[in-house]
């Protein structure tokens, strides 16, 4: 053998990196691109702009099937790459819609508590060569006949409210009535906005508190179904149709839906979006069985849905009571919705989460607002757990407050010290302070009644 040619010049033992080094992308944040793709129209655009992060939601006509969140540097370069992502993102939802329970989403249970799903026959899977086409051709059945009241509670956000009401007016299936409860009537800015929408009724509720406002709306509602949404939200045009469709199951008392972002322009919005509980694209039923299984450690009712996208049969309020006015924005800060779901489950009712009911939410924009929100969230969360214990004497709530939450904080802090700051993490300190604030709030307010008699109905505007 001839002598080997010289090895590549000075192999890198100990040499400092001479290559151009990429700056970490979290240093210079750019707004993410948010897009919606209808797979029934075919995929034309590969989203090759690699400058910003990418958040794409995939639909099949009116049904959301999955999404993709790609940081800068991972954007697809061509259609083939995008299609790889799509197939993986939508497979669970497509499987669930086509094959039912064999592809069901896991409930937020402890691992040893969940039973394995029923198995599917392999021939069905193999024979399914065009799943999206099959799914698209499935008819949604006759339009439901139900009377729905939509309630929007607002507090001095007239421009956001205008967008919200416009989206409500654009519904495929219009509600029987729309009630806007103004929790800050003294500002005078809400009434003109409501007046400009023909179908919306204005109700003033000067006593501050989101739960109080919700209850006032309830007292005015006439529909069999009551659907709530918030003033910083725009609803999808099929929102009510999806809700009414789900309520065809007579055994359901409440329905919650999917919340998607309207924009991802700031790090705070991304942190909120990426750390959400991963509400999936597959429907889930929360029933007394789930509640019973989780009662030892406190059923995680905060994962059932969001107060910005929830609906109830109006008569259940007569059975279980109204929203707890000690909770919610303006009071404990949050969790008036999850506490009500807890009450429903505790009295043997069933709740269904269905991603076909979609709203678009504008997340808090600045880091300070996010910290405030996390503070309020944990304050309301801890207060709700203690009020739940007060009402039902379920020890699982105490377990959650005094054992599981501290363990969560210790784990998060240890992870932060060991692994460093993960990009777009939620502020822990604000959550911790909120937890203590919730404890204190409970001690101060535990002797108060959960709800009071409604104010006498005010006369509507002309």
């Amino acid at each position: 053998m001839t002598s080997a040619p010289a090895a590549p010049d000075g192999c890198v033992s100990g040499k400092k990196y001479r290559r151009r080094i990429v700056k970490p992308v979290t240093d210079a944040f750019r707004p993410w691109r948010l897009a919606h793709v209808d797979l029934a129209d075919g995929i034309a655009e590969p989203f090759t702009d690699d400058v910003a992060g990418l958040f794409v939601v995939f639909w099949l006509r009116e049904i959301p099937l999955g999404h993709l969140a790609l940081p800068p540097g991972s954007a697809p370069r061509n259609l083939g790459q995008l299609k790889d992502h799509i197939a993986n993102a939508v497979a669970p939802a497509v499987g669930y819609r086509m094959f039912g329970e064999a592809f069901r989403a896991p409930l937020p249970l402890r691992p040893h508590m969940s039973s394995p799903p029923p198995t599917l026959a392999l021939e069905q899977l193999v024979g399914c060569t065009r799943p999206l086409e099959t799914l698209g051709s499935a008819s949604s059945g006759a339009p439901p006949e139900a009377s729905t009241t939509v309630i929007v509670c607002t507090h001095d956000r007239p421009e956001r409210l205008r967008t919200c009401l416009a989206s409500l007016a654009a519904q495929d299936v219009p509600p029987m009535e729309t009630i806007v409860v103004d929790n800050d009537p003294a500002s005078g800015r809400t009434q003109p906005v409501v007046a400009s929408f023909a179908g919306a009724h204005y109700v003033a509720e000067p006593r501050p508190g989101l739960s109080i406002a919700r209850n006032t709306g309830l007292h005015r509602a006439r529909g069999d179904i009551v659907a709530f949404t918030d003033d910083d939200v725009q609803v999808h045009r099929g929102w009510l149709r999806a809700i009414e469709h789900v309520f065809r199951d007579a055994e359901l008392s409440a329905v919650t839906g999917l919340m998607l972002p309207t924009e991802l322009e700031t790090p705070a919005q991304l942190a909120f979006q990426l750390n959400g509980h991963g509400w999936g694209y597959r429907a889930l039923t929360f029933d007394p069985e789930f509640f019973r299984k989780m009662s030892g450690i406190g059923a995680p009712v905060w994962r059932i849905g969001a107060g910005a996208n929830m609906a109830f049969r109006r008569r259940v309020f007569e059975e279980v009571g109204l929203f707890d006015e000690r909770l919610g924005a303006g009071a404990a800060g949050c969790s008036e919705d999850s506490e009500l779901w807890y009450r429903l489950l505790a009295t043997g009712k069933r709740i269904r989460y269905d991603p076909a009911a979609v709203v678009f939410h504008t997340h808090r924009e600045t880091a300070d607002e996010l910290r405030e929100q996390m503070y309020a969230y944990m304050k309301g969360h801890v207060a709700a757990l203690l009020f739940q214990h007060q009402r039902h004497a379920h020890r699982g709530n105490l377990y959650r407050v005094f054992l599981e939450l501290p363990a969560y904080y210790i784990r998060k802090t240890a992870a932060r010290l060991l692994r460093g700051r993960v990009p777009f993490a939620l502020p822990i300190t604000a959550q911790l302070r909120g937890s203590f604030a919730g404890l204190w709030y409970y001690l101060l307010h535990r002797a108060e009644p959960a709800w009071t008699a409604p104010a006498p109905p005010k006369v509507d505007g002309p």
């Binding site: 053998m1 080997a4 090895a7 299609k83 790889d84 939508v90 499987g95 999206l132 060991l418």
Partner: protein
């Protein structure tokens, strides 16, 4: 005590499986039209016969969602495979394992036959690293119409790899270890990635077990083996939710099955010869090259279709040594090097080292209590190896390697 390995394609009739009395379970590789979709291991006490229906049920339960994703991917439409691919050099760096090389060359022939787009320009290169006899050379002389033989006298795997970098005539250079067999569709997998990601500077592939005959092999594979999942992933500078990346670069692939654009390798000055030197300093060499590719801003793509089967160490003693030396010691030496040469990421790297040690301690306490897949002696060995590696392991290796270079100059 063995696991029977099943390799089934769901679009073909499923076989019945005979599990003999020595059988402890099955490992199933499911494919769809030849493309690997999922792999899992299941304990089933033998002797037993699994009917095709039983196999079908297990496949539906384990891999149902992945199979559906594959159907959806097909439905979304694929571009046709290119008729001609780039020129690829496949390099086998070997030392004293002619039977392994022979087996590998046979499998490469099958793969070449199945992929005409790459076959016409494919170059096979055997780099014989400081051999103690001529068996490998004789084997290559026998097959000289398909294989080029080159000898690298400086002992060390990365010396051999750099020799391959210097000798490669192709646009891409793929490395496969001599204890590996490539899948029939291995070259097809590479072609698919090249067509979808033409700018990729590095491609890593899936590594599944060739056999699960001994306790050591089963233990290693149950703990994850070299598997990296069945979804194609393009790695950039950031992985969402992973703050230990790219220091913890092992997630992107394994050195037993990797390919690079040759000019990218040459620009990066090849492999670091103070790492992956074989006996005194095994391991770390593949991690280092992946790290430098990513830190240079070049794309790296992991492709599960780019599949090989690896013969894991058969004896527990050998596995023990591998954990301690290659993966703990080697990893820490690579870390020590990165700490010295990449000041921009120093904080992340320090945190990664801290995280690694605390993870090992956690695993150790689990192993002592009997709830971890490995015995405590192996975890303790890893800890020892890691500490030794971190304390000057890289500098010692550099000195050793300098001596080797001088000896052969």
């Amino acid at each position: 005590m063995r696991y029977t390995i099943l390799d089934v394609d769901i679009l073909e009739p499923l076989p019945a499986v005979e599990l003999g009395p020595g059988s402890a379970g099955v490992a199933v590789l499911v494919r769809r039209r030849g493309i690997p979709v999922d792999f899992w291991m299941e304990e089933i006490a033998g002797p037993r016969t699994l009917r095709p229906e039983d196999v079908a049920k297990r496949i539906a339960a384990q891999a149902g969602q992945k199979l559906l994703a594959a159907s959806i991917r097909d439905e979304l439409g694929s571009e046709p495979a290119p008729a001609r691919g780039p020129k690829v050099t496949v390099a086998v760096c070997t030392k004293d394992r002619p039977e392994g090389v022979a087996r590998l060359l046979d499998s490469l022939e099958l793969s070449r036959y199945a992929c005409p787009a790459l076959a016409h320009e494919l170059e096979l290169l055997v780099v014989d690293n400081a051999p103690s006899d001529e068996r490998t050379r004789e084997l290559c002389v026998e097959r000289r119409s398909v294989v080029r033989y080159v000898r690298e006298p400086k002992q060390g795997l990365n010396f051999a790899r750099n020799r391959a970098v210097a000798e490669a005539r192709g646009e891409f250079l793929a490395f496969v270890d001599d204890d590996v067999v490539v899948d029939r569709l291995w070259l097809d997998g590479f072609l698919a990635v090249w067509a979808a990601h033409p700018d990729a500077a590095a491609v890593t592939g899936q590594v599944l077990p060739l056999e699960l005959e001994t306790e050591a092999q089963i233990l290693f594979e149950r703990r994850g083996g070299f598997r990296r999942g069945f979804a194609r992933v393009r790695y950039g500078p950031v992985v969402l939710g992973n703050s230990l990346y790219p220091g913890g670069v092992g997630i992107v692939g394994a050195g037993a099955n990797m390919a690079f654009r040759v000019d990218a390798l040459r620009e990066l000055d090849g492999f670091d010869e103070a790492l992956d030197t074989g006996a005194p300093m095994p391991g770390g060499g593949d991690l280092d090259i992946f790290y430098r590719v990513i830190r240079a801003g070049l794309p790296l793509v992991y492709e599960p279709r780019f599949l090989v089967f690896h013969q894991h160490r058969r004896e527990l003693v050998a596995l023990h040594r591998q954990y301690r030396r290659s993966w703990a010691f080697g990893f820490m030496v690579y870390m020590a090097k990165c700490l010295r040469t990449d000041p921009a990421r120093r904080m992340d790297l320090i945190r990664l080292v801290g995280w690694w040690f605390s993870k090992k301690l956690w695993q150790l306490q689990k192993a002592v209590r009997g709830t971890y897949a490995l015995p405590p002696s192996m975890v303790a060995g890893e800890l020892v190896g890691g500490i030794v590696g971190l304390c000057g392991g890289y500098r010692r290796s550099q000195k050793r390697v300098e001596r080797i270079r001088r000896r052969h100059a």
